[in-house]
């Protein structure tokens, strides 16, 4: 996630630089009184690079997707709550076969 933020900031810096370069280019064209329609090629490359970095950051920085199936491996409820006062262990569940392979996830 941190790398995602860094890449996003880098993309933003590239875009800011591209914007600044375009303003400078426009100023220069005003001096020579030429018409302009788009920024120069290197600015376009910089914009596309910034877009690529920002797309990557937008996908990497937010939280990872978590499975919505209740019986998937990452949704197992294996940790005991901190307050055991209301937990009852002497119930009918003791007749179920015990799966000794389940371990407590840290």
């Amino acid at each position: 996630m941190r790398i995602g933020f860094m890449v996003g900031i880098l993309g933003g810096i590239l875009l800011a630089h591209a914007g600044y370069a375009t303003i400078q280019y426009r100023g220069m064209l005003k001096i020579v009184e030429e018409e302009f329609s788009r920024p120069p090629m290197n600015v376009v490359v910089e914009l596309l690079l910034g877009l690529a970095f920002c797309i990557w950051a937008a996908l990497a920085a937010p939280a990872k997707f978590r499975s919505i199936h209740p019986d998937s491996e990452e949704n197992r409820i294996v940790s005991l709550p901190a307050n055991l006062d209301f937990m009852i262990f002497n119930h009918r569940g003791k007749v179920f076969p015990c799966n000794a392979e389940y371990k407590l996830k840290k």
Binding site: G19, S37, V44, A58, A63, R66, S67, I77
Partner: protein
């Protein structure tokens, strides 16, 4: 046996609607929303600096959103059913909401750099 986070309706024995972990689903939807909003803003800034006007700008926006949809599908390892309840979450949700942010951030750089 009640499980933490289950909110789906469990109907009769036949035709059970799928039960899913609503907390995780909400987290996934929020994650998509952040991604799309950020990319709408970035797309607007790029469209403004590049000098797109009129329909070209909107086409650029939908191209960026299509790239974002593909990226989100890849992030979900192309198995949408594991992380979302429908395909629309990845491909349609948030596109028209982001359009307003796009237009807002499109007009400011366009005005600054070109007009």
């Amino acid at each position: 046996m009640a499980r933490e986070g289950d909110r789906g309706a469990s109907g009769g024995a036949e035709d059970d609607p799928p039960i899913f972990n609503a907390e995780n689903l909400q987290s996934n939807i929020k994650s998509i929303h952040y991604s799309r909003t950020f990319l709408s803003i970035i797309g607007g800034v790029i469209a403004g600096i590049w000098g797109f006007t009129g329909l070209t700008g909107f086409i650029f926006y939908f191209l960026v959103m299509a790239a974002a949809s593909f990226g989100l599908a890849a992030k979900a390892k192309f198995s949408i059913c594991t992380y979302f309840d429908s395909w629309n979450r990845i491909f349609l949700d948030g596109i028209f909401g982001g359009l307003m942010s796009f237009v807002l951030f499109w007009t400011y750089p366009l005005k600054t750099t070109f007009w």
